[in-house]
C-alpha cells in the first residue's frame, strides 16, 4: 500500500512537472537540468558504525521564460534514502517547488511568487519517519532532500536593485512565507504527529561591487540578512508543544579575483547567529522530541575555478563550517568538505557536470535513550558525495 502511495505521488509529481518541461520547448532560454546525486555518510558513535545512504534524482527547470518579464522555475526531487543499520528505506518524490518571477530589468524590481506543492510523502510510518528525521534534522550535513511531503506553502518576495555607481550596486529584498500544517508521521495506533511550522518574515540587503562592468578582474559581494519567525507548533493527540526560534541574523561575504586569463580564485566567509530556541510543553507520549537548530555558525570557503580552452571547466573547493547547536552547544560541531566540480559542454545545447566531495567532522547525534532521556553523543562523521547532472538549453 505504501508502495502504491509512493508511485501515485511520483506520478502526480511528474504530471505537475510535465507542463513546465513541455512548455520549455516553445520558450526561449529555457534550461532544464537533471541530476543524480548519491551520498553516503557514516556517523561513528562509540563502537557503532551506522551508515546513512541517500540517492537523490532531481529535475529542475530554470529560466523558463514565459511572456514578457515572467519567468518560471521549478524543482522536483525524487529520493531514495536508506539507513543501513535499521534496514529501512524511504523512497519517493519530495515536495515540488515552483517559482514565478516578474522582473523587468529597466525597473530593477523583481517580484516572486512561490508555492511548494505537497507532492512528497507525509504521514509516514514511524520507522520510515525516523530515517527521514535523521536526514532532515541535520544541519551539519548537507542532505539535498530537505523536506518530504508537507502542506502547500506559499512564499512571496520583492527585491530591488539600487545602483550606487557604474560598478557598485546595492540590493534590498523582503519576503514572507505562509506555512501550512502537515502530518509528520502516524503511529501504529493511528495517532498523528502534526506540525505547523511558523510563518516567516525575511529581509536581506546586499552590496555587490566589481572592478569592471563587462569582464571584471575582481568582484565582491556582501550580504546582510535577518529573519523573524513565528512559533512552530507540534500537535499530538490533544497536546500542543511550542518552539520559538526568535530572530536570526547573518553576514556573508565573497571575494573573487581573476588569476591569469580565465581562472578565478574566490574566498567566502559567513557568520550566522540566532536567539536561543525556547520550547514549551515538549513532552509527548509516544516519543520524546527535541528541538534542534543551529544557534550560531561560521563558515569559510576557498575555491579555485580553472577554465582552459579544450578542457572542461574545473573547480576545486575547500570549505569548513563550525556550529553551535541548540541544545547541545557544548559539543564542538564542524564539517570540512573538499570538493571537485567539472563541467563539460557536450553539444551547443547540452552540458554535463559532475561533482565529488569528501567530508569529515563531528556532529551531535542522538544516541539510544532507554530511559526516555535524549542524550546526544559527540560523533565523528565522514562521508562522500558524488553527483552527475545534465543541463539542456532549449
Amino acid at each position: 500500500m505504501i508502495g502504491r502511495t509512493i508511485w501515485r505521488r511520483t506520478l502526480l509529481s511528474v504530471a505537475l512537472a510535465l507542463p513546465s518541461v513541455l512548455g520549455a520547448s516553445s520558450a526561449s532560454d529555457a534550461v532544464i537540468s537533471m541530476s543524480l546525486l548519491t551520498q553516503a555518510w557514516t556517523i561513528r558513535a562509540a563502537a557503532d558504525e551506522p551508515r546513512f545512504q541517500q540517492d537523490v534524482y532531481a529535475i529542475s527547470v530554470h529560466s523558463l521564460r514565459l511572456r514578457g518579464p515572467l519567468t518560471l522555475q521549478g524543482y522536483l526531487p525524487v529520493a531514495t534514502t536508506t539507513d543501513d543499520q535499521s534496514g529501512v528505506s524511504v523512497s519517493g518524490a519530495g515536495d515540488a517547488q515552483v517559482r514565478l518571477s516578474w522582473h523587468r530589468p529597466a525597473t530593477r524590481w523583481r517580484a516572486t511568487l512561490g508555492i511548494d506543492l505537497p507532492t512528497g510523502q507525509s504521514a509516514l510510518p514511524e520507522d520510515e519517519y525516523r530515517v527521514a528525521a535523521r536526514m532532515l534534522a541535520s544541519q551539519v550535513l548537507d542532505f539535498q532532500l530537505k523536506r518530504l511531503g508537507e502542506g502547500p506553502d506559499l512564499f512571496g518576495s520583492i527585491s530591488y536593485g539600487l545602483p550606487l555607481g557604474r560598478n557598485t550596486m546595492a540590493g534590498l529584498a523582503l519576503s514572507g512565507g505562509l506555512n501550512s500544517e502537515y502530518t509528520l508521521y502516524r503511529t501504529v495506533e493511528g495517532l498523528e504527529q502534526r506540525m505547523h511550522p511558523g510563518n516567516r518574515l525575511r529581509a536581506s540587503a546586499s552590496l555587490l561591487a566589481q572592478e569592471h562592468d563587462q569582464d571584471p578582474d575582481w568582484d565582491l559581494c556582501v550580504v546582510l540578512g535577518g529573519e523573524v519567525a513565528d512559533q512552530t507548533e507540534l500537535r499530538f493527540a490533544d497536546r500542543t508543544s511550542v518552539v520559538t526560534e526568535g530572530i536570526q541574523g547573518r553576514l556573508e561575504a565573497t571575494y573573487a579575483h581573476r588569476v591569469g586569463q580565465d581562472d578565478r580564485v574566490s574566498i567566502s566567509a559567513l557568520l550566522s547567529a540566532r536567539d536561543r530556541n525556547r520550547s514549551r510543553d515538549v513532552e509527548l507520549p509516544v516519543v520524546e522530541y527535541l528541538g534542534i537548530a543551529v544557534r550560531s555558525a561560521a563558515r569559510g570557503e576557498v575555491s579555485y575555478t580553472m577554465v582552459r580552452q579544450h578542457w572542461p571547466r574545473i573547480a576545486l573547493s575547500v570549505a569548513t563550517a563550525m556550529f553551535k547547536i541548540d541544545p547541545w552547544e557544548a559539543i564542538d560541531s564542524y564539517v570540512t568538505l573538499t570538493g571537485l566540480e567539472i563541467e563539460q559542454p557536450l553539444r551547443p545545447w547540452a552540458a554535463l557536470y559532475a561533482a565529488a566531495r569528501i567530508g569529515f567532522g563531528r556532529t551531535p547525534w542522538v544516541a539510544s535513550a532507554a530511559d526516555g532521556q535524549a542524550e546526544p553523543d559527540d560523533c565523528r562523521l565522514d562521508g562522500t558525495s558524488l553527483g552527475v547532472g545534465l543541463r539542456l538549453t532549449l
Binding site: 517559482r99 529597466a106 519567525a229 518552539v243 559567513l270 534542534i292 557536470y353
Partner: protein, 462 residues
C-alpha cells in the same frame, strides 16, 4: 557596404561614451575635471571646468596684453563658453580661426557650441579633423576624440529614433491587418548581423562568437548592393528596442529580430569540444516577407557548421557567398565571389588572437586589445584585419585604459551587475531557493534558516 558614416575606430568606445552623452544632454556637468586639462600646454593653465568662468578676467587681461597670442585668445573663448556666453565664445573662436583656420582649441570651442545647439553634424565635421589641427596637445586631441564618439552616437541615435518612430506608426496603422509589408520601410537589402551568442561559459566561446560576428559583418559589407548594419548602429538599435519595450505596450514594440533591417542573421558560436572543432549555428530571418511566402529569404532551418578550426574561415566565407547568392538573390562578380570566399587568414590561431582583440576592444580594454591584435599580426603578418586593429589602437592610451574617460560614473551602471545583485538578494530571502542548474550539486547553505529544519528528532531512533 558598411552602413556607417564614421571610420571604424569610432566604434570602439561607444559604450563608454554614453555617460558623457547623458552628461552632455543634462547641462555640461559631464565635462570632467580631466577635460579641463585639454589645453595643458606650457602656457595653458589647468583646473576644473567650473573654474573657467572665474578665470575670465585674467584671460581678458592676458589677451589685452598679448593680442597676438591665439592660444590665449582661444582659451578666452573657452572661458566664455563655460560662462554660458556662447555668442561671445563663438565670436572669439571665429576671430582666432580667421587668423589661423585650423587652430585646434578654437575649433573645439566651435564644436562645443554646435553640440550645445544640438547641431551634432557640424560638431562631428570638426571632430573628424582632429588629427589635422594645429596647436593642439595630446590631451586636447584625446578629448576631441571622446566628443567625436559622442557626436557620432547622437547622430545615429537620432536616425534610429526617427526610423523606429516611423516603423511604430506604420505598424500601428496596419496592426489590424497584420501586414508585415509595412515593416519593409528600410531598404530591402539592409542586413543586420546580430552579435553571435557564445555557446559555452569559457572566454574562448565568447571570443569566437565575437570574431564570427565581425567576420560576417565585415565580409558581407564588401557586397556593394548590400547595406550591413554595423556595431554602433546595432547597439543603438538595441537600445531603442529596449526603450520601446519599456515604454510601449506589446503590439507597438520593435521586434528584436527586425532591428531596423530587412534581414538579420542571428547565431551562436563556440568551441565546446576539446577536439578543437568550432561549432557555429545561425539563421537568417526576413522581417519583410512572411515565412510562408515563396519569396521569403530567410533560412527555414538553422544552418549548422562544425568544421575543423583550420577550415573555419574558409567555410564561413562559403556561407557568406551562399547567403548573398542563395538567400538574398544578389549577383556577385567572379572576382567579388572569390574575395568573399577567401579567408582573411589561413591561421586559426591568428584569427582567435584577432577576435580576442575585438573582445577587449568592445570592453574598452585597449591595452589588452592592442596586445592581442599585435599577437595576431605576428602569427600571420599578412592578416590585414589584425594590422588594422593594431592601428586602430594607436594613441588610444598607453596603459590600456578606457577612453573616453567615464565622465559621470553614477549615470550608467552595469546591467549584468544589476541582474546579479537582484538575483542574489532575492535568493537570500527565499526559504528554499532554486539555484542554477548546478545547484543540486552545489555546496549547501548549511546554516539556512528553514522552519522545516527545526525538525524534532526521536531520541530512541538509532
Amino acid at each position: 557596404m558598411l552602413f556607417s558614416p564614421f571610420p571604424g575606430r569610432l566604434r570602439r568606445t561607444v559604450r563608454a561614451a554614453v555617460p558623457a552623452v547623458l552628461a552632455t544632454l543634462t547641462g555640461w556637468g559631464g565635462l570632467c575635471p580631466g577635460c579641463s586639462s585639454f589645453a595643458s600646454g606650457s602656457s595653458t593653465p589647468t583646473g576644473d571646468p567650473a573654474a573657467w568662468p572665474a578665470r575670465l578676467p585674467e584671460l581678458r587681461e592676458g589677451v589685452r596684453r598679448h593680442p597676438q597670442d591665439l592660444d590665449l585668445l582661444a582659451q578666452l573663448g573657452l572661458s566664455y563658453f563655460f560662462s554660458d556666453s556662447c555668442a561671445q565664445a563663438d565670436s572669439v573662436a571665429k576671430l582666432v580661426l580667421v587668423r589661423q583656420p585650423r587652430q585646434g582649441l578654437a575649433l573645439f570651442v566651435r564644436a562645443l557650441i554646435h553640440e550645445r545647439e544640438g547641431d551634432w553634424e557640424s560638431a562631428d565635421s570638426i571632430y573628424r579633423q582632429v588629427d589635422d589641427l594645429h596647436a593642439t596637445t595630446r590631451e586636447l586631441r584625446r578629448i576631441m576624440r571622446s566628443r567625436h564618439e559622442i557626436a557620432s552616437r547622437e547622430i545615429i541615435r537620432r536616425q534610429v529614433q526617427v526610423e523606429s518612430q516611423r516603423w511604430r506608426e506604420a505598424r500601428f496603422d496596419r496592426e489590424g491587418e497584420g501586414a508585415l509589408e509595412v515593416l519593409a520601410a528600410p531598404a530591402a537589402n539592409t542586413l543586420l548581423v546580430q552579435g553571435f551568442a557564445p555557446l559555452g561559459v569559457s572566454r574562448s566561446d565568447t571570443v569566437l562568437a565575437t570574431g564570427v560576428t565581425y567576420f560576417l559583418t565585415t565580409t558581407l559589407a564588401q557586397t556593394e548592393s548590400l547595406i550591413v548594419v554595423d556595431y554602433t548602429r546595432r547597439e543603438l538599435l538595441e537600445d531603442e528596442i529596449l526603450r520601446s519595450a519599456t515604454a510601449s505596450p506589446g503590439p507597438l514594440q520593435l521586434r528584436s529580430a527586425f532591428c531596423g533591417a530587412a534581414l538579420s542573421i542571428t547565431g551562436r558560436a563556440g568551441i565546446p569540444d576539446p577536439g578543437a572543432a568550432a561549432w557555429i549555428q545561425y539563421g537568417v530571418a526576413d522581417a519583410t516577407v512572411d515565412p510562408g511566402d515563396p519569396d521569403y529569404r530567410g533560412t527555414r532551418d538553422p544552418r549548422e557548421l562544425s568544421p575543423p578550426t583550420r577550415y573555419l574561415l574558409s567555410d564561413l566565407g562559403s556561407e557568406v557567398v551562399w547567403i548573398v547568392e542563395d538567400r538574398l538573390h544578389l549577383t556577385l562578380s567572379p572576382d567579388l565571389r572569390g574575395r568573399l570566399a577567401r579567408a582573411p587568414t589561413q591561421s586559426f590561431e591568428a584569427f582567435m588572437a584577432f577576435a580576442e582583440g575585438l573582445f577587449w576592444e568592445q570592453r574598452n580594454q585597449f591595452g589588452r586589445a592592442t596586445a592581442s591584435f599585435q599577437a595576431a599580426a605576428e602569427l600571420d603578418p599578412e592578416f590585414v584585419w589584425a594590422r588594422e586593429g593594431a592601428e586602430r589602437m594607436v594613441g588610444v592610451g598607453e596603459r590600456g585604459e578606457a577612453l573616453p574617460p567615464r565622465m559621470d560614473r553614477s549615470v550608467e551602471f552595469s546591467e549584468g551587475l544589476a541582474e546579479r545583485t537582484i538575483g542574489t538578494v532575492a535568493a537570500k530571502v527565499d526559504p528554499m531557493p532554486i539555484g542554477g542548474p548546478e545547484a543540486p550539486l552545489g555546496t549547501a547553505d548549511v546554516t539556512a534558516s528553514d522552519p522545516h529544519t527545526l525538525i524534532l528528532i526521536d531520541p530512541r531512533v538509532r
